[in-house]
């Protein structure tokens, strides 16, 4: 699906400073070498299975299915991975690749903190130095994850520019990478940025859909009718979709953070409200004004609070292969509470966006249909923020 220039249809590319060009070329060459290297793949697969607790469970949510009275619902439990989210899949892959390239230092951006925690974890495991850039606003929303990263030995730098959220953390990590390239790998956390990141991150996250497919055949003897996942940059979604892209009967649905609604300015639903642009190394859809100034987006979820979307998602949208639906803060919070009480599973507020749409979709489908919802992460990190949203002040 990607051509040599890293394009997905018209999207993607490498819109970055000249200073970084040889670094991304070196990364692409290393990746092309190692992705087919049996030893590399054996090492990565051992890390996935022995360290990160893969394969993750595909759990039949029987109570939820009965409650909604429609399609059968399975939950892909990425929340059960080591570090509590899908982010570890990509990070183990990139950290191993960086190590093979002789890099000794990892830098990363993080929104909710899950990618930062995963990067700090891999750095600890591989004995690498680690610096994580996190919007100052997010360090407050996700204080627990800041502590986890520091506990794991990483330095966390609060980013005080712009909206002080994920977008600014990405910009600052890119700036840092231009100052120090020779020993440093930028461990980008989503299927975004310049080529080859959208492809590399997708390939490492594609283990999600590979497993869903195998587990679904084992449990049901057939493919699901729909796969749902939340989309910020879109890494757990592309991971959940990837091996189903050629199976045209499987509906692929990305759930975007609508914040206070797509008819307001306080939204982060890029495909629904953005337009084509060039930013953070890629051509894709972005929330922006008529002069191309990137919009200060908003979502209750720090992990989805990003004004762009990965280029492959933009392409899947263009060709109609996947659809992208908006889910508001209120719907996501309700789904967060619903899944906790209904199934005893506290999902990340990001993943709750996908659960919220499943609650709308399942009742419209007949009982012989099957939906898979990816629970991209666990919700412990969100409890304080959701309590606040509900008007309750708790101390962590």
């Amino acid at each position: 699906m990607t051509n040599p220039a890293g394009r997905f249809g018209i999207h993607g590319g490498q819109y970055i400073p000249e200073t970084l060009m040889n670094a991304v070329i070196e990364l692409e060459e290393a990746y092309n070498h190692y992705k087919n290297d049996p030893e590399f793949n054996k090492e990565l697969s051992d890390l996935f299975n022995e360290y990160a607790n893969r394969p993750s469970r595909l759990y039949y949510a029987e109570k939820m299915t009965k409650d909604l009275g429609g399609a059968k619902i399975y939950l892909k439990r990425e929340d059960l991975n080591h570090t509590g989210a899908h982010k570890v899949n990509n990070v183990l892959g990139q950290a191993l690749l960086a190590k093979k390239m002789g890099k000794t230092r990892l830098i990363a951006e993080t929104g909710a903190g899950q990618h930062g925690v995963a990067t700090a974890t891999a750095a600890a495991l591989f004995g690498m130095e680690c610096v994580v850039f996190m919007g100052e606003e997010d360090t407050i929303r996700q204080a627990l994850n800041v502590y986890r990263m520091r506990l794991l030995g990483a330095e966390v730098i609060p980013v005080k520019t712009g909206t002080r959220t994920l977008k600014d953390a990405v910009s600052e990590a890119m700036r840092e990478w231009t100052t120090r390239i020779s020993d440093t790998h930028y461990c980008l956390g989503s299927v975004m940025g310049p080529h080859p990141f959208p492809t590399i991150v997708r390939d490492f996250q594609a283990v999600i859909s590979k497993e869903i497919k195998e587990q679904m055949m084992e449990k049901e003897g057939r493919l699901p009718d729909a796969v749902l996942a939340c989309v910020g940059g879109g890494s757990n979604a592309i991971g959940s979709f990837y091996h189903f892209i050629e199976d045209k009967d499987v509906q692929l649905i990305g759930c975007e953070a609508a914040g206070r609604g797509i008819d307001t300015f306080e939204t982060a639903a890029t495909v629904n409200t953005g337009k084509l642009g060039i930013f953070h190394g890629m051509k894709s859809y972005f929330c922006q004004d008529e002069d191309g100034q990137i919009a200060p987006v908003y979502s209750i979820s720090a992990g989805l609070d990003y004004p762009g979307v990965g280029p492959e998602h933009a392409h899947l949208h263009d060709i109609g292969r996947a659809q992208y639906v908006p889910v508001t803060d209120e719907e996501a919070v309700q789904a967060f509470e619903y899944l906790s009480k209904m199934e005893g599973i506290i999902p990340a507020i990001e993943s709750a966006h996908a659960v919220a749409y499943a609650r709308k979709l399942a009742p419209t489908m007949s009982k012989d249909k099957i939906i898979v919802v990816t629970i991209s992460g666990r919700g412990d990190k969100d409890c304080a923020a959701i309590a606040r949203y509900r008007g309750e002040d708790i101390h962590e």
Binding site: G13, Y15, Q293
Partner: protein, 258 residues
């Protein structure tokens, strides 16, 4: 024919960068006129962008102040129309790819030609992506300026061979902003560039002092200064123009006779 080469016909070139609309467009216009009056050979006008990923804190701050003041791309075009009543030195825009793309590349670059902008510098548009705008730039006689970095190595020849206007040689790793010393072996890079092209080479990033400009101009055709000027504007606000003029004069004097 490129008008940009005129900037390199008066000894070593002093290239002054200024962010448009910081603190307002009238101040920008006055700063540009002062810079030109005191010897600036080429003016780089920064069109503010919300997320300038190649800039250090000083120019980031200028972008934020300009946007907070409500500057739009079309206002910057009007500024240039006004400047062109009396400013004859070459002028180029420095901004980010999305500013050009979102305005509509044909409309943006066509307007550049109409109002007398001679080139465009886009730090997030490397050689591999220049086809995005290059054919339109060529059609409108606007030079798309190429950047070469300390990490370009095997890419130098490829970039230099196709460069128009002048080559913007980035002095150091990292983002824009003053540096106490520049350690890159720039002489080798300039020699490599000169072995494949006659296009002038100007060095930018990190230059703030006259002696630094002189060092850079001994090995190249000009020095580009941004953050140091933007800092003066930040410090003096609407009263900045004479201070900018004085600074430009000291810089141009240091390099004029090299």
């Amino acid at each position: 024919m490129s008008k940009i080469k005129n900037a390199f016909s008066n000894g070593k070139a002093f290239i002054a960068f200024i962010t448009c609309g910081d603190p307002d467009l009238a101040t920008t216009a006055a700063c540009v006129r002062e810079a030109v009056r005191n010897g600036a050979d080429l003016i780089e006008l920064g069109i503010p962008f919300s997320d300038p990923t190649a800039e250090g804190p000083v120019i980031q701050g200028a972008n934020i102040r300009a946007l907070a003041g409500g500057v739009k791309t079309k206002d910057v075009f009007d500024l240039v129309r006004d400047l062109r009543k009396d400013v004859t030195v070459p002028m180029v825009f420095m901004t980010y790819a999305n500013v050009v793309f979102s305005y509509g590349a044909e409309k943006f670059i066509g307007t550049c030609e109409e109002i007398g902008i001679d080139g465009i510098i886009l730090p997030d548009l490397p050689f591999e992506e220049k086809e995005e705008f290059l054919p339109i730039c060529k059609a409108h006689d606007v030079d798309l300026i190429s950047l070469i970095a300390p990490t370009s190595e095997n890419r130098i020849g490829m970039i230099a061979k196709e460069a128009d206007g002048f080559i913007y040689l980035v002095s150091s790793l990292g983002v824009t902003g003053a540096r106490s010393e520049i350690t890159t072996d720039l002489k080798d890079i300039v020699e490599h560039i000169r072995s494949v092209t006659d296009t002038p080479v100007a060095i930018g990033f990190g230059i703030s002092k006259p002696e630094q400009a002189a060092t850079m101009c001994k090995i190249s055709d000009g020095a580009i200064v941004g953050s140091a000027i933007v800092k003066i504007v930040e410090q003096y606000g609407k009263d900045a123009p004479p201070h900018v003029g004085e600074y430009v004069k000291s810089m141009k004097e240091a390099i004029r006779d090299l």
